[in-house]
């Protein structure tokens, strides 16, 4: 690599500035999302209480799609969606609909909340019957 010692390397400075600007934007986004973060953690606790009887374990998740953040509550156990729906009801929550996500995952929309519950390893009905 040929070096050019006299160059001011403004491109490097600009890139570093861009990285910092992006970081600040992301941190601001997290601050703005604080109510959603609190809601996600509170709902997760509530779902774990409702799912304890069935041995269901829910986890808060945040997907960083910089500068945005997407929240969800995941259950990674191999479970049947109707069983998860029952846990949701036992947690004192209600669901509006279920819909498929990419891969095998099934999302469950909770009534009154923007954070979906995602079943990452749903057991399909025909397997349950078999």
């Amino acid at each position: 690599m040929r070096k050019n010692p006299g160059n001011a390397n403004t491109l490097r400075k600009r890139l570093i500035q861009e990285v910092f600007a992006q970081t600040h934007a992301s941190l601001r986004e997290i601050d703005a999302a604080r109510p959603l973060i609190d809601d996600t953690e509170r709902l997760t606790g509530q779902l774990n209480a409702g799912g304890a009887e069935a041995g269901h374990h829910f986890e808060s998740r945040a997907l960083l799609l910089l500068p945005h953040v997407v929240f969800r509550i995941a259950i990674d156990q191999p479970v049947a969606v109707p069983d998860v729906l029952a846990s949701i009801l036992r947690a004192g929550l209600n669901y509006a609909e279920t819909y498929p996500l990419s891969g095998e995952s099934i999302a469950i929309k909770l009534v009154g909340h923007d954070i979906p519950v995602v079943v990452t390893q749903p057991i399909l009905d025909f397997l349950e019957v078999a």
Binding site: M1, R2, K3, N4, N7, A8, N9, T10, L11, R12, L15, I16, E18, V19, F20, Q22, T23, S26, L27, I30, R34, I37, T40, E41, S60, A62, L64, L66, V69, F71
Partner: protein, 128 residues
């Protein structure tokens, strides 16, 4: 167990650190692409000499290229690059995002980045 907010902040800071480290590691290449652009500008005033350094940081590397957005032929590009002392060989673009289906990329001997004519014109069209 960290809270969701703390986990997010940790991931953002880690991401920024990775990007910054990648920029630091690419410092010599960034300096080189800027110097080449300046040299190309200095060797002539035509559109074939109007090359812009471009770079995009990623967590593990920095995409770097020398781009010419003007309507020039690939031959004019090679000649302008040669006038600046660069040996350019036509090649497939190595970094997605800087080139489209019509772009012509060139490997530059001695440098790890490419020169790209984003929308090259054909000589016959240029003549018309």
């Amino acid at each position: 167990m960290p809270t969701l907010k703390q986990d997010l902040i940790d991931r953002i800071i880690l991401d920024a650190a990775k990007h910054s480290a990648a920029v630091g590691a690419a410092a010599a290449d960034l300096e080189a692409v800027e110097a080449l652009a300046a040299r190309l500008h200095a060797t002539g005033s035509g559109p074939e000499h109007d090359w812009r350094p471009i770079a995009t940081p990623h967590p593990d590397y920095v995409s770097i290229a020398l781009l010419n957005y003007r309507l020039i032929t690939a031959e004019e590009a090679v000649a302008a690059l040669a006038a600046a002392g660069l040996e350019a060989t036509p090649a497939e673009p190595t970094r997605p995002g800087y080139a489209n289906d019509h772009s012509q990329a060139f490997d530059l001997a001695g440098y790890p980045f490419q020169a790209i004519v984003q929308n090259p014109v054909f000589p016959v069209l240029k003549a018309a």
